[in-house]
């Protein structure tokens, strides 16, 4: 049974020579929810961009990323993008159409669905994110929480098997965060979440990977890793409050 | 310079509309073929950027403020065909969203600000740039191109108004030209300042419009901008015969025009330029423009010295291909 996601010695350096990823290898099983944590500059966002072939810009056979067993290559990249849904850090980067409907419909339309299928996909995705009725709204009139959810709807409308999210709770107020986490919890797809929000990681992700300076420095059960104060301090993180006090369950 | 509806007659609106369709169509075809889809979001953002940049008030005298047009700036940063598309988007959005610029006048407004402006700016920029190849040269070329473009676009706008019978040619051309020779100074200065600001953080972004060194025997087609400009000049000739003779009337009154000195030396310095049918006021506008361009050139050199303290004479032209 193929892992949903498999990275084998993935390396990446930016045009200016700076190394962002120094040989990352990891596997994520189907249905897992993995938290990806680490200090700023550790390569979290860069790693996510490798999951649907946005990076590297040219495939030179150096790194191997397999989605459901299939290697990402120039030929495979189109179908891979259908399977891996990427949620970017800044919703304004991802909400590029004049209305909510058009934006959520973008993915399905690009992937070749018929008009009826597109409309159905949009309806379902908006319902799943609690945004039914938002079809004709303009993105610039939405709150940041609503924008985030529209982005998520846009990704869900493509029916991905894997969801890769980059800082999904940043800039959200507690209510917005709660709403988003409820939605994420309800989704059965494989999830990998890059974030600074360690409280969310504890609540959603059974497994956590710690990234620092382009390398995997720890990979294991969330509570164990995030509860390890030395590990957290060493990599510029802090033990989340939720783990600070022992709650007998 | 956005012309509202009601100012242009049918023939002017239709002919400028046809020119715009051709120019924009060509730009779309060129970009569609040779540009990766990666650049398209950049066009959209660049158009939004121009729109916002045009909104910014640059204080001039008490109460008045100047604004950037941005056509030359975009041409320098993105290249001519991209600039045509970007500026066309700006003009269209301003009309359809703001009512700034009429719908039937869209053809003329696109022609003026999105076809003539970028193409002429590109031509002048590249010509000056091919001579002045360092960082300062880039600023100077952009500045001169910006000034000239503003003046020419103003004159073209004036000609459209005159051709429509809205305003008399002899008034509107000198008025528009004169006002915009002053406004052009602002455009030139702002263009230089913005480019030098970009150079400080992302100098790589200044290589969007590369210049090929012209070699002797080079059979390349001359810049469309220059062809366009010459075409416009030719158009002005029959129109200009309507010009009353500002200078010539003075000369006539004073009895100069009849005279040629016995020894063949012409009395009026402009006598040599007089071609049958073209009066000297027309010529004096052109001369003023040329003098103005030279003044701007000199001022730009001074300003470039301030903005780029140490000139880097990197001869980047040897390796660049357009």
């Amino acid at each position: 049974m193929n892992p949903a996601l498999q990275l084998t010695n993935v390396r990446f350096h930016y045009p200016d020579g700076k190394e962002a990823l120094r040989g990352i290898s990891l596997r994520v099983a189907e249905g897992e929810c993995v938290g990806l944590v680490g200090p700023n500059g550790s390569g979290k966002s860069t790693l996510l961009l490798h999951l649907n072939g946005i990076l590297p810009e040219r495939f030179d056979g150096d790194s191997h990323v397999r989605i459901n067993g299939r290697l990402i290559s120039r030929e495979a990249v189109d179908s891979i993008r259908r399977e891996v849904g990427l949620l970017f850090q800044d919703p304004d980067d991802q909400l590029f159409c004049p209305t909510v409907f058009e934006d959520v419909a973008f993915g399905p339309t690009q992937f070749g669905l018929s008009e009826t299928e597109v409309r159905a996909a949009v309806r379902t995705a908006l319902a799943a994110t609690g945004l039914s009725g938002f079809e004709h709204r303009s993105p610039h009139h939405l709150s940041s929480g609503e924008k985030r959810r529209v982005c998520l709807a846009g990704v869900l409308a493509c029916n991905p098997l894997i969801l890769a999210l980059d800082e999904p709770t940043s800039n959200l107020d507690p209510r917005g965060k709660r709403k988003l986490m409820v939605i994420l919890k309800s989704l059965p797809v494989t999830k990998i979440i890059a974030t600074h929000d360690l409280e969310m990681v504890v609540e959603l992700c059974s497994r956590t990977i710690v990234l620092d300076n382009g390398e995997v420095v720890a990979d294991g059960p969330t509570r164990e890793l995030l509860g390890n104060e030395d590990l957290m301090m060493k990599h510029g993180l802090e033990k989340p409050h939720i783990l600070r006090h022992h709650h007998p369950h | 310079m956005h012309i509202p509806d009601g100012f242009l007659d049918a023939k002017t609106a239709i002919s400028t509309g046809l020119f715009s369709l051709t120019g924009l169509g060509a730009a779309l075809r060129i970009t569609g073929k040779k540009t990766e889809s990666k650049r398209i979001p950049l066009f959209g953002l660049a158009a939004a950027f121009v729109f916002v940049a045009q909104m910014i008030n640059f204080p001039v005298a008490s109460g008045t403020s100047g604004h950037l047009l941005g056509a030359t700036l975009v041409t320098v940063l993105l290249g001519p065909s991209a600039a045509v598309i970007v500026m066309s988007s700006v003009v269209i959005i301003q009309s359809l969203l703001f009512a700034d610029g009429g719908i039937l006048a869209l053809g003329a407004n696109i022609f003026n600000m999105a076809i003539v402006a970028p193409l002429l700016g590109n031509a002048i920029y590249k010509i000056v740039r091919s001579v002045l190849r360092d960082d300062r040269g880039r600023l100077i070329a952009a500045s001169v191109a910006a000034w000239c473009t503003i003046v020419v676009v103003a004159v073209v706008c004036a000609m459209e108004l005159a051709w429509s019978g809205t305003t008399p040619l002899r008034l509107v051309v000198p008025a528009m030209a004169g006002i915009h020779m002053a406004i052009g100074l602002g455009e030139a200065a702002i263009t230089m300042l913005v480019l030098s600001a970009i150079a400080k953080t992302r100098p790589d972004l200044l290589n969007g419009n590369k210049v090929v060194a012209l070699q002797s025997g080079d059979k390349r087609l001359p810049f469309p901008g220059i062809l366009l400009f010459l075409g416009l000049l030719l158009l002005m000739v029959p129109l200009a015969s309507e010009f009353p003779d500002g200078l010539e009337r003075v000369a006539h009154t004073l009895g100069f025009a009849q005279k040629v000195g016995a020894d063949g030396v012409s009395i009026s310095p402009f006598r040599d330029y007089l071609v049958p049918g073209i009066h000297s006021a027309f010529v004096s506008t052109i001369v003023a423009a040329i003098v103005g361009a030279l003044v701007v050139f000199v001022l730009s050199i001074a300003m470039a010295r301030v903005l780029v303290p140490r000139a880097q004479s990197v001869d980047e032209l040897k390796t660049e291909v357009d």
Partner: protein, 203 residues
Amino acid sequence: MRHDFLDRYSRLDSPVHRLSTVTKCCVALALIGFSVAFKVEVWWIFLAIGLVLTATVIASRIPVKFILTRLLMLEPFVLGIAAMALLQAGGFAIFLNIIVKSTLCLVTLIVLTNTTPFSDILSLLRKAGIPSLLITVLALTYRYLFVLIDEAERISRARKSRTFVPKRARSWMSLSSLIGQLFVRSTERAERIYAAMASRGWK
């Protein structure tokens, strides 16, 4: 600077707003076309157009003050050219023509753009055969107008908190620097937008 002045009324509910986009555009073009085609001497056409417009403005529930403000902002060019028009043979007739026609056309356009969401106009243009490259660029321009205005405000506020009231020359440098920074951020955002578009299948 609030930016919904660009788009404040296009989604109100009124009999005019509810008309289809095609209808609104055709009526607007007809009104503009008639205004431009006839001379002011044929005064009854202009009276008719004026009445139609007044009725439309009232029905559209757009505040008259808003329309007048927009009109005032666009008048200077009209008045300048009109003044020049006076200085020729038959100038007064031309002057009158300009004032009446351009005002009627401006009001028509203002009402049209404020009763029709821009995305609807874009769909109409797409169906009318405008090349998709241009439609995409127009859509992105419209969408990111507001984002860039916000971005410019942020840059400007960051500066203001660090400088005193600048002299005129300094303010030109400061404003140009703002514009420069805005361009750089726009370029970087465009790259991210491309990545987002490509991630959802765009080629």
